[in-house]
């Protein structure tokens, strides 16, 4: 290994490798398949190392890695190499009706009531039931907690579209959870 390479390797290990595990978890959340997530992680880490000169020190390295990860994931989807597992969540309505969400009816405590009663796997199922565009946008912004702009860069779409997808995705999740709760109470 040359002096330049060893210096680059040290720097990369120091700056990027701390996110290795959380990057895998992000890949797992995106793909919902362990094998695919591992492949995605590998491709991301190799690409990131290859282009490490493009990373600006002091900026958000995790966001940069997630951008690469997301592009690798979308690339896999585009090429039809793999398909994400789909989850059926009957409570979610068609995308075209999303803006017609009624505002929460009980304004005194509309969200906390719902949220306190649902468990993690229901949220996960509601998230997984979103259409792929909305699911990825919500995952990046809410779960991975990268900025709207970073998500826009990763998805190569305008920031306004990311904002809109996150809004609609969250409303779909809320609607799915409310209906799930109502069904549970009825039964």
């Amino acid at each position: 290994m040359s002096l330049f390479s060893s210096s680059k390797r040290r720097q990369f290990e120091k700056v990027a490798m701390p996110f290795y595990k959380s990057l895998f978890q992000a890949a797992y959340r995106l793909t919902r398949q362990r094998e695919w997530a591992e492949d995605l992680l590998q491709e991301t880490m190799v690409r990131a190392y290859e282009r490490f000169e493009l990373f600006k020190p002091g900026t958000n390295c995790k966001g940069w890695l997630l951008t690469i990860l997301t592009r690798c994931y979308l690339n896999d989807l585009d090429k039809g190499r793999r398909r994400p597992l789909t989850t059926s969540f009957d409570a979610v309505g068609p995308e075209s009706r999303l803006w017609d969400f009624a505002a929460p009816e009980d304004s005194t405590n509309p969200v906390s009531i719902v949220m306190n009663q649902v468990i993690d796997h229901q949220i996960e199922a509601a998230l997984d039931s979103l259409t792929e565009d909305f699911r990825v946008a919500v995952l990046l912004v809410d779960v991975e907690e990268i900025s709207y702009q970073e998500a826009a860069d990763a998805l190569e779409i305008p920031i306004g579209t990311v904002r809109s997808r996150v809004f609609r995705g969250r409303m779909q999740i809320r609607q799915a959870l409310v209906r799930e709760l109502q069904d549970t109470e009825l039964s």
Partner: protein, 263 residues
């Protein structure tokens, strides 16, 4: 101006997250302060966002297999090795290019025809000697004649003085011999006319017969009853003396060679 709910739709998620600034923040605030529906939507957004963030924190800790990291490091090693391979390839390319250049230069030098045009000179002499002599630059001064030829041939043509053999310059000319430029110096001799030819760059004389006279080396092209030519090379130029009388050509050649090689 009153904004509709759909006008601020894309601002509600970032507003709920508290990441809007300036004009967008003001627009969202203004609308939400007057729209109960959107205020509730913002609350819903905040609740879902909070749940999603907590989802991440409460999830079981998954880790990739160790084989993945081993494979990643192996690929890094391959990437690190690539610049060295590229460097070696570039070095080999440059070396090959240099070799081609050197070979090209050598080949070009070898390929240039440096052979002295002895036969053409004799043919030219036969033609000139049968006609009234009309040199381009009539002069009796060898230094002037040489100077005139230097300016035409762009070569260091030396003065040629044949007074030792009673030959006197009458003028100089430039002639093309099948595409090769040559200088001519015409001399009156006791037996008639001799011509000294100067051909820059044509110094290969080995196709002619070697001869030695009074310690001087020559290459000769002679036939009985025909004009003779005695040639030699000096300072990157080929010289030849042509004369109808072979013995006179010999004598002139000796005198000319001594004359041209004098400092």
């Amino acid at each position: 101006m009153t904004m509709k709910c759909s006008d601020v739709q894309e601002l509600l998620a970032p507003y709920a997250d508290g990441v809007l600034v300036d004009d967008e923040q003001r627009r969202a605030e203004e609308h939400i302060s007057r729209c109960e529906g959107c205020r509730l939507r913002v609350e819903a957004q905040q609740g879902i966002a909070t749940a999603l963030r907590s989802l991440k924190r409460s999830q079981r800790s998954e880790a990739p297999s160790e084989q993945v990291l081993r494979e990643i490091r192996a690929q890094w090693n391959r990437l690190d090795a690539r610049p060295r391979r590229q460097f070696r390839l570039q070095f080999a390319s440059v070396a090959a290019l240099l070799l081609v250049c050197v070979f090209g230069v050598v080949w070009a030098r070898l390929a240039v025809d440096r052979s002295f045009p002895a036969s053409l000179i004799l043919d030219n002499y036969k033609q000139v000697s049968t006609q009234p002599l009309q040199p381009d630059y009539p002069t009796t001064d060898p230094a002037n004649g040489a100077k005139w030829l230097r300016s035409r041939l762009h070569a260091p043509v030396p003065p040629v003085n044949l007074s030792l053999v009673n030959a006197h310059l009458v003028g100089v000319s430039v002639v093309m011999l099948h595409g090769t430029q040559a200088g001519q110096m015409f001399f009156h001799t006791p037996a008639g006319m001799a011509a000294v030819y100067v051909v820059p760059g044509k110094t290969a004389l080995r196709s002619l017969s070697a001869a030695q006279m009074d310690g001087n080396h020559f290459y000769a092209l002679t036939n009985v009853g025909q004009p003779g030519l005695y040639a030699w090379s000096y300072n990157g130029m080929g010289f030849g003396v042509a004369d109808n009388v072979a013995s006179e050509a010999e004598a002139c050649a000796v005198a000319a060679q001594r004359s041209t090689s004098m400092p």
